[in-house]
């Protein structure tokens, strides 16, 4: 007997399998846990921010898109960094005039950077204005 046949035979003897219907028995498993979230959009955001803080993330909140460059610049200053990688669909003109940009290729040739651990749990701008 192969190992496969022997293991399966041992299982069948032990379980006294009587051509039971696994699908039917699987369907009877109780599933009363939450499968759909109950939070509305604002509560979701609040929870998300709370979790970010819990994992030591520095949060900058901006009300409008025009404040974004300043926030990015502030984050870079805080991290003592002068360069940043930019996703391809973000137009450079939207960013801070003082920021330099470089391609992934340039980045990879760079020496490994120092790690900065931002440990502050303080929120920089607390007010959040959801877009209408």
């Amino acid at each position: 007997m192969t190992a496969r046949e022997e293991i399966l035979a041992t299982i069948r003897t032990a379980l006294h399998v009587d051509a039971a219907n696994p699908a039917g028995s699987y369907a009877r498993i109780t599933a009363q846990y939450n499968r759909i979230g109950k939070l509305d959009r604002n509560a979701c955001l609040e929870l998300f921010l709370d979790r970010l803080i819990d994992y030591d993330t520095e949060i900058f909140q901006v009300a409008t898109e025009s404040e974004l460059p300043a926030a990015i610049a502030e984050a870079l200053t805080l991290a003592n960094e002068h360069t940043a990688l930019v996703p391809c669909r973000m137009a450079p003109r939207r960013h801070h005039p003082q920021a330099r940009y470089q391609s992934r290729h340039q980045r990879d040739r760079r020496r490994p950077r120092r790690h900065h651990h931002l440990r502050s749990r303080r929120r920089r701008h607390w007010h959040y204005h959801p877009r209408a």
Partner: protein, 485 residues
Amino acid sequence: MSIVVGKTSKAPDFPIAAKTALKNDQLRRNVAHATNVIRTKRALRVEEMPDWEQLRQTGSEIKAHTLAHLDHYLVEFERNCQLAGGTVHWARDADEANKIAIDLIQHYSGDQENIEVIKVKTMTSDEVQMNHALEAVGITPIETDLADMIVQLGNDEPSHIVVPALHKNRFEIRDIFRERMGKPELTEQPEDLTAAARSYLRERFLRTKIGISGANFAIAETGSVCVVESEGNGRMCLTLPEVLITLVGIEKVIPTFADLEVFLQTLPRSATGERMNPYNSIWTGVTPGDGPQAFHVILLDNGRTKLLADDLERETLQCIRCGACLNACPVYRETGGHAYGSIYSGPIGAILSPQLVSLDHSRSLPYASTLCGACYEVCPVKINIPEVLIHLRGEVVREDQKTLSGKLDPENIAMQAAAAIFQNHRRYEAAQRLVRIGQTLFERKGQLTNLPGMAGAWTRSRDLRPIPKQSFRDWWKQRSTKGDA
């Protein structure tokens, strides 16, 4: 059959090993600190789940259902895994699993010398002692999980199923790294230790062609395998090598992909107090040009099928190896894992190890518990560990009573005598009178102390009050005589 569960066959009995562990203050401090941290985190993460009990219930039911139809789901997993390009092997015991792995490694390595394999943390491979088997034929296994690496470099044994080096503090880890990595300048700062491990491993990840992993879940419906971890070493081992060999205990199969929605919520919270596993790797067979191009699964029995016939014993196989019971156990928290003599320690180890080896070894483990029930309370798949412990204690006693030395054992004779006395009220009352006279020799400040013989083991560490001057039966008799008069 050669069922091997770590080094249980050579391990001393728990009470003996525990005494050694209890004398090691450093070990006790390390274990107490680590278990406290994980326990506290787990409690916080469980508290914030409004549907925790429902998740436990469903998790338990899914596992129980799968085990009740284990043959069906194993065959379904095998079929779907092979359809996706994987190869499935079956191993009756440790030797067979190791032989399959060695044959595969040698096959893919050709006539290459100094064969190395990288490993993701897998308890199942520790169970079958795969590293020893590989080393015996000249293959070098490299553990890539930080804690497993510490254990391997320190020629140590895992002491916890999730955090294998929990018994070591960072100063001890620094010393191991200094010695084995040739870095005499290394400090004990966690950042430096992980950086040392990272540079040590990175090179090995890139040059090694064969990876070995375990599995948290094997999904029958899709033939996929799932490994969850926190360090990213697993993801590297599962994606970088050309060949991947995965060792899976047959109880790890689950019916459907959707079942993961339960276990991926309960497992990380129970194991490390994380909301999510930092890395969830799920892969299905092989994909041309992406990841390992050869994928082998070894389905391992190694004593598991023997637990299926009995409903209570079968429950043991529901375990998803989260380790929550270890951190909760007042016995484990004092002794650490090594005292159990098995790579499966703590409450789950105390029921799993002896059952896998048919009570041939680890016979003292069912007694390594106060039966307080903390393990059952935290178990994310609701294994009733205290009940299984009592069941196994009964099995050990029944087996012992079959041998002559067991029959003549003072404990057995005392228990038989007690059974005879309790059967008859005259004998019972006579015994009470005898004890009441005898106990005065040992009574001190309202407690019985220094009882002779076996009873001394009880009074050495526990309070025992003497039986009262008047029993309820005496009082009742007296009362009815008075009333009649």
